[in-house]
Symmetry: D2
Subunit: 362 residues, 4 copies
């Protein structure tokens, strides 16, 4: 159980403007004490700095920032708790699946490969691709049935019918399934069918959706928003965790920068940073970052080398027929060969991809 | 009525890789012809470029990009239609309000000022602030009842009860109201009460929410996403417009950049760019861009000077008590004085803020 | 005289890692005391924060950051001094020119318009454009003789000969001249001819060049680097100021962001931020930010409305013949009409552009 | 010899505004023909697109962009030539060193490790660190003698005397040396001593400096600018190459983004992108990207996995005493262990680090 009043404190540093009169400084100190905390002053010749440490939730930064003479309020404690290493020191190991399909682990020494088509276009293509990715080394099946498209005139997905195909296909091949959810109203409909909800980058701060999947007990693959800092991302994970769902998997898929040679800039440093700050497993999505299949392999290898716990990769046997994101899908044989390299890299960082044969045997 | 098959075409440029064999080029040409379009070749010594113009929706860029030898496919036509100047040459003038409150215009020569508290905290503070902003020159009242907060532990708003206070307050003071919606499930509940839905920056690509407000006939204030290009933004407007709701107001509120001296970087150039590409009215939100009241005035003036059709500004009579975003709220007297300067700037760019007395008289 | 030991102190906040043993905390305190400062501890249940205030230059942040258990060191004082409002409370008013040409002021209530061609292409075009911009309202003449071009195959400027034409033209028309310098070796050659050196965005952190122009007593127009924060920019100004040259004019010309609808994103907020932090005058360069003449006017107006002390604008009577940046040059008549609007905006923010007739008369 | 008139052509696409009159289109076509090229029209109902392919240097984009009715001009050919894969299909293998020190290769299958202190502080520390990094697996020695510092009050390096120590130390240990140059005036002084010039990120577009090192025949390690696209970077390489110096090594060291958890965002995708576009070898600098030693290892491994030809890493036996960038220096033992992992990763991507014993034996 999460009990913030016992396991966390809050600290802030208040920097006063140059030349602030003593009365204003006294007022800040008084306000801090009214909040039940103790203020520590460092008076310089030109500037005074005030530190305060108190019980979680008692120091109102907003109020402090509005007082006369305050230049800035710097929070020292991390604003997320359940997602933090302070709350849970060891790596979390999360299981996706169960029931008719094996449970697949991710986190700690367990690396996971999720693969499949971008969008489910029809039943036949789904089975064909699913067999290919299973054969190539994937243990979880992905496939979009609701598609978030920047244009209202683009293909928007086949909906629940396609989700049922996904479920049947996963069951037949022994693969848990991971499917994107876009709207709070879809959560209840999808819950009986999915093993893992995917939250897309554009919905990373759709807070109602985060709460809604937080109420389920399915896995949640949380993609990083295109303009989200690692801190923002962990706060979004906190939304899910705070509802009681602890099965959050972070997924780096690139951020927006000025570089225009590739679709998004995969922020490789987010992997060691998130690992330093949080116990949650983290995978990379080289397909969406690259936007072009030629660059998918290099980004996948880099992600694993930086310490990721796996990858999510789009595959299509005939990318030129795909209804969305075809240019980034790997051919099945390229995927299989890449998985061989990824297994080598994983060894260097002390991780291992599961073998679907062994999983089935368990 | 919008009939894409009659009023729009689509053009793409296909750049082939250096050294692509003729067979691959022929294949691309054949595929373009299969799509019912004509291909125009420009053969260079090293590289071939193919142009194609066809009926809207017939040229499948995805398919073309997947063909052998294709380096890139450059779309030439804008992907949004209803939002474009090509579709509607003159500035759109949109009306917010009606019924018990006057209709307030924005667009063309009409400038609009929306103001009020960040969040509605209680009935008394709402009325107090509303009177202040009406007195200062605002003609539309804003106030959050559902608050999108990066942390699940922050104040999340008072919900429907606060919305009813907003409605009553707007009716009493003769001001249309603008309130943020965060979840598709809130749209139906809010519709009877609001004059204008606000879509927050983090929901700019919450496509289901865009469709849902698109089905209403209320105003939609569409804030630009933190990592959205002007093109992405107009595509999100297109989601609303394509459902039949033509009352979309764009709102620039800053983008994420490396600069850390201010909360977000207000992209001033988005104003003339959006005006060149689209007929929709556009306002600026200096409060959220600045994050600090000292910088709100300069950004508001800059926005109007760049050609915006108005501003949305947060005001609080006691910012240090505000439950969210207090540090950015202007004091009522500062707001009133800023409005004086904004009226002067508006004259220079050929626009005029309405006077609430005149509106009431109509 | 600048005497840092008397007029400035330095403060840092040291945040210790969660769970740091007391011995490490004691070591940090001991090191701070060894540096001659006093340490102030705020011990929380999980984390300790240490504040220290000392004489300028005595607190070695680098050393502190390397000690065991230190999570981060947050500097509290601004790292620039001569450029800061703390050093010089009132706006600096800087004069460019003198000798055969009038002195033109910028800063405080004085707004300055610098205009001319991007590059000096020949003597005739220079005189023709110079007369146009003088007639339109510019009081300082610009014109490039060394051109920083991203490609080595682009036109690189005509060098010293063109500089002499600039000097003669400025003298004849009574306009001080502002010319870009790119290389330390050019400073001595150019010094006898120019009234103001321009440091381009790509050289903003060419520290040797900054020192070299800092040794002269000519004006220095310091463009902001494409990836420079306002703090970095003021530190570059500090390089010039610390050599004894106090005539630095800041110039915002856009930063690199993900937005691709315009060449650079003009960071409008840098104007009020720089004004809050520094006493130096600041102008905007809408021509290079926009990269396209259609957007130059809106950015110029926005810059003045945000509080800039002027503009630098490129003009060409026949932009399609210009050897560089033709697409962004205004036609003389557009420039003149824009100046009329800029004068109106300047009034709103309490500034005034000088009239070249009055300057000549002085 | 480079002869652009024979081995390269140039192509542009000109997109006309919606509703441009025929006369303006005819004018564009006429101008293209006047330039000696052929225009290819694609007329749509609303918009016309014109393609043109011509001899290098004959199509003046600037002029075309300035013509009436032109919306944009899209260049199709890459603006760099000597740096491109089209010019040189195979990976370039570059040698650094010679004379008293062995030649060390980088490029193709050859991976290079450059290491040493950030700044040379005194002779003893230099030798001590140099022995450590040689022992750990580095084959090239780095060490700054001129330091580009954002603040004029920071340590600026020891200059030529320190360079002589570097030369003597490299000679004694059999390691070529790589030293940063900041000013055109330093090139001649440094040339007799260095094996490889380093161009820092802030000087990547100091075009005079690029030309000056281009005139030497020493190696040039070209760091990517903080706001430079891969294209900009290759254009800067082109400045060096066009002076006849073909020994350019690219070095990715992070770009500026909104993410604030790490100093710079290492752009991992720049590695496969640069490899696709250029034949030049490319290494990564995880020390400056990370700014904190905890993250250096993950970034180094990621860089090699993405296909880099090596690394440049800062090492210090006592980082808390370092005069600059101490927090990012690895301890000698950490460096040695990291090199072990890097050798493993290199194998996966078909590369190999040289052994200094074998080099000496050659």
């Amino acid at each position: 159980m999460y009990a913030p009043e016992n396991d966390q404190e809050q600290a802030v540093i208040i920097v006063m403007n140059h030349g602030t009169p003593d009365a204003s400084i006294d007022r800040v100190v008084a306000e801090i004490e009214k909040m039940g905390s103790k203020a520590h002053l460092s008076r310089g010749q030109f500037r005074t700095v005030i530190g305060a440490v108190g019980e979680e939730g008692t120091l109102d930064q907003n109020h402090l920032a509005s007082l006369d003479g305050v230049e800035k309020v710097v929070p020292i404690m991390k604003p997320y708790k359940l997602a933090s290493r302070e709350f849970h020191e060891d790596d979390s190991v999360i299981e996706i699946g169960g029931g008719k399909v094996p449970k697949v682990k991710v986190g700690g020494t367990h690396a996971m490969c999720i693969s499949g088509p971008c969008a489910v276009e029809n039943e036949a293509m789904l089975y064909k691709i699913a067999k290919h990715v299973r054969d190539g080394g994937a243990t979880v099946l992905r496939g979009g049935v609701y598609k978030p498209r920047t244009s209202p005139y683009s293909f928007q997905g086949l909906g629940l019918e396609a989700l049922k195909w996904m479920r049947a296909c996963g069951d037949e091949l022994g693969m848990p399934i991971c499917v994107e959810v876009m709207d709070t109203r879809q959560v209840a409909d999808m819950e009986p069918f999915v093993d893992c909800f995917q939250i897309g980058a554009r919905n990373m701060q759709n807070f109602d959706l985060l709460k809604e999947v937080g109420k389920t007990r399915k896995g949640v693959l949380l993609k990083r928003g295109l303009a989200a800092t690692v801190k923002d991302w962990l706060l979004s994970a906190e939304y899910v965790l705070s509802q009681g769902n602890r099965s959050v998997i972070l997924c780096e898929r690139g951020i927006k920068t000025f570089e225009d040679s590739i679709r998004y800039t995969m922020d490789i440093s987010s992997i060691p940073v998130a690992a330093a700050w949080s116990h949650l497993p983290m995978i990379v999505d080289p397909s969406h970052a690259a936007g072009k299949r030629d660059f998918v392999g290099a980004l996948a290898l880099a992600g694993m080398a930086a310490g990721a716990h796996g990858v999510i990769i789009e595959v299509h046997y005939c990318p030129s027929e795909a209804q969305c994101d075809g240019p980034q899908a790997l051919l099945p044989e390229t995927f299989k060969s890449l998985m061989g390299q990824l297994r080598e890299i994983a060894k260097v960082t002390g991780k291992q991809f599961a073998d679907i044969g062994e999983l089935a045997a368990v």
